[in-house]
Symmetry: C2
Subunit: 216 residues, 2 copies
């Protein structure tokens, strides 16, 4: 275990901000990016089911198309990396079986030994929810994943912007997600702030501590 | 800026796991807990609106009541801290005005200078969404907040468990949330793993990298 100092944590979380202008010339080094992808994959989820897909859009042509569906927010093309957080819209029993088989393999046990977990997840996620509830559940998990690379990037000194202001349906079309049982939930851009971004130095606006944190 | 090493980040994210058994005798030191609360408050949200409330349940009697609404998951009483992530169920124009007034004060500008932001958020969040859509939007934001202390705790060497398996309505009743326009979305326990927790040493189960991360 190699823990960090709490002051360092808070300093980096204060350093981060929703970057508006990226330096288009600066790319995240491959080793740092690999770490951020690894952080993404390590995101916790309900029962560990990971009902998501992370699309990293490298192709400048696709980025330019997505910009047209992003109310012109330039981060979509200027940031080093663009991550589209897609959600499995209808998590199925087959998805669950794939996961259970993987767990049995990774932990070197018989799948039957996981019947308790399988039944619980089946009842809770697949059978116990309507289609729309199941979709909302999966979107919620995807939002856990959104926070992870944003915080992780801040710790590595890399800027990030979680973004909701885009046309989800057009993203789904451009990335051909629907036929794969996926839908865009949210996106994030990552890279390095441009010196011209006036938002970098504005003080953060957070509701007073006591109005959002209460001890009971 | 005091960045950390990427290996350290990944090592700590691998160190964490959904802790099942906490050492009830070990409390998170006050200074570390204060940092985790600060990390919570610093969570990014759409337009910065923070449509949430974090309830830290310290009272053992309330914890015991909540345990009865948590399918007996012992973390609820054994962990050092229990955080209930509540969501503002009907984010309103008045909430927005509170936020805009705060931003004007923090940044020392006239509220009118923020009319553009106010109108955009008003159209997008308050007027442009049905009640149920607005609620889902706020729940999504709350799930960003869930990930933050979980990742932050891992970096500080503190265990954490995000938890969905509880009765939300009963939580809302016990904590008297409804009358305040709040609803429980998700909870997390934080503290220190017990040596008896066999899950601590099981290998993580993550879907193969290429099936959840794709470059486009």
């Amino acid at each position: 275990m190699k823990i960090i100092d709490r002051h360092q944590l808070i300093e980096q979380l204060n350093w981060r901000y929703a970057t508006k202008q990226y330096d288009p010339a600066r790319k995240i080094p491959a080793a740092d990016w690999a770490a951020l992808e690894e952080a993404l994959v390590l995101t916790p989820s309900g029962y560990g089911l990971q009902p998501w897909m992370f699309l990293i859009v490298d192709d400048p042509k696709v980025r330019a198309e997505l910009l047209l569906a992003s109310h012109g927010q330039p981060q979509v093309v200027d940031a080093s990396h663009l991550v589209v957080f897609a959600t499995k819209t209808n998590y199925s029993e087959a998805d669950l079986d794939t996961y259970i088989a993987l767990m049995a393999k990774v932990r070197n046990i018989a799948p039957q030994a996981l019947d308790g977990l399988r039944n619980m997840a089946l009842r809770s996620v697949v059978q116990g929810k309507s289609d729309i509830e199941r979709r909302h559940w999966a979107v919620n998990q995807t939002y856990i994943a959104l926070g992870n690379p944003v915080t992780s990037a801040a710790l590595l000194g890399i800027d990030a912007t979680p973004m909701e202001g885009f046309e989800k349906n057009r993203y789904d079309e451009i990335l051909e997600l629907r036929a794969r049982g996926l839908a865009t939930s949210v996106i994030a851009t990552l890279g390095y702030r441009n010196a011209t971004d006036k938002y970098a130095t504005l003080p953060k606006v957070r509701l007073p501590h006591g109005t959002v944190v209460q001890h009971v």
